[in-house]
Symmetry: C2
């Protein structure tokens, strides 16, 4: 018997008709003899409404109580979904994160999963029931308090349960058709990616693609969980994120084998183009070019708990004995990082600090880069032709990122999408010879 974990986001369970539609989909899987575990988010805007309520009673609510408050949202959606499934003639039982065995640390609002002990979920499945689990929430191992996993938490709940239960696939239902070669709002000719590797998806998510949360992809890669990102508003296939040769359900009674990377089919160089306009850039001008200075800068930055992304250090000019250091970071983190650096100005000895929040980052992602050295040259030529200036560059084995002026970013994304042959009139990308229908 195959086991499917399905995750439905807030827009998929926004109201009673949506919940009944989701129930019908689940029941179809059950009718085909498949075991189903469902992870749900809170209905529609419930979480935002609860945050508004909290703000009305306290400007800085304690994390423990905010978690207690917010977890009410999934409690409502999961109970309603269980009712709708029961009404369709199948047994269903809902479980809180705590009941489902999502054991976390005690970091309220951004708890990390320590262990998953889904004994009650397994019991429900063995009794023939659909198990509905509240996404986004867990219980602290030490304090026994209710915790939440933070943004992207429901995706992570689903992947963690799929790993712990040995599910055949973890389906992530959302309001788009899957992962696209670029953001369709920026690139009208972008199209759905049929299949992509965990590594590529990880780079996509880290580079600004929003359909799947980075953390959930990391978890899926570590435990080799096959993911299927698809729309809850249609029966079409979405994007498979899997190792080659995996067999998994794609619908009630329907199965597919994922394509292997080694198969001799046309494989594009680039899987997709991601972009991120949420970062800013700090430049320290005139840092003394002596050993340990850069380390001192980033030690201070690390103490602020900010997420530093790209770092560039200019070649020192021999005359001055000084160099410039630039790095990018989320604009939300910028004020406290600037404050920390400016407070340590005497220790660091730099001449001035510049900050820009008008930058954008473009990333090409593709496992094909491993064997094709010409990607950077191709990107630089395409951007040059489009009149886009490049400010910073960074690379990984399967990713190439550049920083541009923010006003050039969307033009740069379209130019790169075209230059690497991703534009499609058919609305279908074939990555690893994907087999979308």
């Amino acid at each position: 018997m195959s086991l499917v974990v399905q995750k439905y986001g807030g827009s998929s369970v926004a109201d009673a008709p949506a919940i009944r539609r989701v129930a019908r989909r689940i029941v179809a899987y059950r009718d085909a003899g498949q075991e189903v575990v469902v992870v749900v988010s809170a209905m529609g805007d419930t979480t935002d409404e609860l945050i508004d309520l909290a703000a009305q009673v306290s400007p800085s609510p304690p994390g423990r109580e905010l978690d207690m408050l917010l977890t009410a949202g999934e409690r409502i959606s999961m109970a309603l979904l269980a009712m709708a499934i029961t009404d369709s003639g199948h047994e269903a039982r809902s479980f809180t994160g705590s009941q489902a065995g999502m054991i976390t640390d005690a970091s309220h609002g951004r708890a990390r999963i320590i262990d998953v002990t889904p004994g009650r979920i397994r019991d429900a499945l063995d009794a023939g029931a659909v198990a509905i689990v509240a996404g986004f929430q867990g219980v602290s191992q030490t304090t026994k308090d209710i915790t939440t996993l933070g943004r992207g938490g429901s995706d992570t709940t689903a992947v963690a349960l799929a790993a712990a239960l040995g599910a055949d696939v973890c389906e992530i239902y959302t309001d788009v058709d899957g992962v696209f070669t670029a953001d369709p709002r920026v690139v009208p000719l972008a199209h759905r990616i049929a299949q992509i590797s965990h590594e590529e998806m990880l780079e996509m998510a880290a580079s600004g693609a929003k359909v799947l949360h980075l953390r959930a992809v990391e978890y899926a890669r570590r435990y080799n969980v096959s993911l299927h990102v698809r729309s809850s508003f249609s029966d079409r296939l979405g994007t498979l994120i899997a190792q080659g040769g995996a067999v998994f359900p794609i619908g009630p009674g329907e199965f597919r084998t994922s394509t292997s990377e080694e198969e001799p089919m046309e494989q594009p160089l680039i899987a997709g183009v991601a972009h991120d306009s949420s970062q800013g850039k700090i430049t320290l001008i005139g840092v003394p070019d002596v050993p340990g200075k850069a380390a001192a800068v980033f030690k201070i930055v690390a103490q602020t708990d900010a997420n530093i992304d790209m770092i560039v250090q200019n070649v020192s000019t021999e005359i001055t004995g000084r160099t410039d250091i630039s790095f990018t970071l989320p604009t939300d983190d910028a004020p406290r990082v600037r404050h920390a650096i400016e407070s340590a100005r005497d220790e660091l000895g730099y001449l001035s600090l510049e900050y820009s929040d008008r930058i954008g980052k473009l990333s090409l992602i593709g496992a094909g880069m491993r064997s094709h050295p010409g990607v950077s040259a191709g990107l630089f030529a395409a951007l040059s032709d489009a009149g886009v200036n490049i400010e910073m560059i960074s690379t990984s084995e399967i990713r190439l990122s550049v920083v541009t002026e923010r006003e050039d970013l969307e033009r740069a994304v379209r130019a790169a999408h075209t230059a690497f042959g991703l534009d499609s009139a058919e609305g279908e990308a074939v990555v690893y010879g994907g087999t979308g229908r």
Copy 2:
């Protein structure tokens, strides 16, 4: 150090300003050095809204899931209240029914409390925090599923916690000033009762007084918990429900000793007049007057799980060898009881069944009845003067109830209230020499 359990109903925490007002009251107690445990209901109409949502996805939602759904309501109000208290500078921690140790049986929607193990509440108090507990909910001892206690559940949660923690008083905050000598909407000259015994309050609640739920009063009597029913919209004293000589807090740093029943102060004959217009009356005409027939009738009724209240069996006429049996019951229970009796007509051998939902019940309650035999005569005279016909009569040691036509009920209540000297221009009742301010 004194320990106060406070219960706030939905209207007391209906919105953010109301929650902040409740927080200020709690903080005042804490500032006076008192330990406070707070039991909250769901905000305003939340529970009804959740029931509406359930009805939209399923005409007959399973009890387990309905309980899971409804318990989200208290989760929201208790977390918000904890935030508001924290914002006022005192530590507060919220706890679900399960976390607070409210152990119940597995009867969803009407669970009975089996045990109360408030270890985490005691720990929170010992750490100097206010403990906020979700009313109305518990966890099943056998299935570990979330349960709800049914109507009046939050009052029962508060009383059960007060008993388990050995609290000095359990304050029930509501939107009225306390328990009145009669429903002020019916009797304009009704006034607040300053103090009343558990036994009298039990009879009041059982006879239709709605301010306190019968079940909570039963629990309080069994464990001798002193109750204080009062308004969350003022600082005035409400109604004390206590044994004589109990010492308990009545406000921040303020204490009072309850008056003893034996004290030589003016003690009224009657504490209050309750009425109930939610009952109907079934009459079986021509039941064979042979041993065991009445037992057979009520065995069949008992199998329907209906709450039978008053029973009257007429004297049999020797000529026919038949008698009439009448009993009252909640109108909600009437259809299934009628169905059960009519299905057993051959076995029971009665001639016909009559049903009326146009009855009303008036009850006089007062411990003074024990030593004053003239109460029934006084009531009958008053009702006769008011032109009210009496259909049925039943008594307990401290209660006298009569059934009237429903259209006569309010007139009967006013007449009884006047006849027993309860009308007051001062808005204050002195029962047991009560000491209201």
